[in-house]
């Protein structure tokens, strides 16, 4: 019986801590002033980087041109052997 009470209390404590931690995030985000501007910049930047730049301007050259690692290795080896002056 005593053990059960202790386990229950520990469970309640952990639950309480998780709840407090979660509330800290929620309240923190809600009460931001300068943080809103900063988050807007961060999200805008990530959108430009990962959606626009990565998709349209920065494809992974080897991943898009070749479908297997063997083909990629072959392409790089070809470059390595053909770019020598001799």
């Amino acid at each position: 019986m005593t053990e059960l009470v202790i386990i229950k209390r520990e469970g309640a404590t952990v639950g309480c801590m998780v709840n407090r931690f979660f509330r800290m995030y929620v309240d923190g985000f809600r009460s931001m002033v300068l943080g809103r501007t900063l988050w807007t910049i961060v999200l805008l930047k990530l959108f430009v980087m990962f959606v626009l730049l990565k998709t349209f301007f920065f494809p992974d050259f080897l991943a898009t041109k070749f479908s297997t690692d063997a083909e990629r290795a072959d392409h790089v080896l070809q470059n390595l052997t053909q770019r020598s002056p001799r």
Partner: protein, 511 residues
Amino acid sequence: MIDQIDLGQVNWARAQFALTAGYHWIFVPLTLGLSFLCAFFESIYVRTGNEEWKRLTRFWMTLFAINFAIGIATGIILEFQFGTNWSNYSWMVGDIFGAPLAIEGIFAFFIEATFFAVMFFGWNRVSKRMHLFSTWMVAVGANLSALWILVANGWMQNPVGMKFNPDMARFEMQDLWAVIASPVAISHFAHATGSGFLLASLFVVAVSSWFLLKRRHLLFAKRSIAVACVFGLFSSLFVAYTGDEHAFITVRTQPMKLAAMEGLWDGKSPTGLIAMGIVNGAKKPGDDQPPFLASVEIPGLLTLMAHRSFTGFVPGINDLVSGNADQGIEGIDARIERGRLAVSALGDYKAAQKAGDGALAQSALAIFDDNRGDLGYGYLRSPEEAVPPVALTFYAFRLMVIVGTFFILLFVLFLWQSLRGRLEKSRFLLRLGVISLFLGYAAQQAGWIVTEVGRQPWAIQGMLPVSVARSNLDSATVATTFFIFLALFTALLIAEVKIMTKQISIGPEGA
């Protein structure tokens, strides 16, 4: 074959990488140093219980957050560029860089998702000690995160702990510890993070000096300066020490870079250090032209730096290019010859494997193994190609060292005037404090110019020149993305400066 290389594309890709790295390094050093300063300020608050220190901590933490938010993820763009512009390089180093960069990513995520949130949202919600612990963890985590990036860069400067796999065209990790504990990587990390601490100290001194010049927040500014100057003085001495250590290692691992840093064409024993000089830009390896149009030399100092004694030979560019039999230095011609044998054997190995000729493949592999250490030299057209841009490396090194030495003096003067209680009246010194921030940023950029320009033409020292590391793209594509980045980063920098200056002008009340 070499004529087919689009050098315009290589140079645009280089310029793009330099632009991105340069902008990235505007944000990073301030994050590295300011995180520790915030931890110092908060430690004083927790120890004294004085609410003024809390106010002070929160102000600097706000500026830290602005810099962090604007600078976040700018480094990821470098990874985009690896995959697009430098695909050969990216493929070849994937096995080496995978581990350090993955560790860095995991580290950064957990630090930012947990302790960063407590640092900003946790005031009055968690205990003082828990909050302080989180602030320290952000500082330690941010700096450890930098370790992995600098380990990767250190490996490019001195590739150790790996073996080239000719079947997959990859450098494969043989010894993770050798990569992490490489003296180049460690000294690189110590010097770069130390310079971040120095820059952040200058930042606090500059903003606080501005407050004092405007006669605002006087006690706040003086307290900030006192802590920042102590940290700045220790950091600047540490940077000088690690810089010396770095030069000591460079002469052993990248002697050509050290020769370019010093504008040293013909090695001597003992050799002086050029304190100031005007580089003769027309000088080429092997000619009779003077290396400098004018110079001031400190006798014996370069030998002392390179050998920790006044005796010992420091090789110059001509010694390294043409060789110096007396000093046992081999010329680059011989390395080019071996490099070409390695490249040729690699081609033969590949062809023999395709033809199913096992005996020929084994014989080609044996030749490759004998010459693999000079693989990169096989792509150079002439020994002169192994010489980096001397003038740029020389001037950037001098800017870094001279300005770095000045900072030691600056912090001493600020501390001296603080102790005498005369800081407010030292208006010239306060103006100097404001200007020094810009010198600090210039020194940061100069340091990376020395590191990266000084090791050209190599993407991986001695193993892979940039002309081979690049992708098969046309220069117009890379030029277009260069200007996109120029616009993007300039916009971010303007945003940083605008938000930062607004927050500074509001002062501690707005934190």
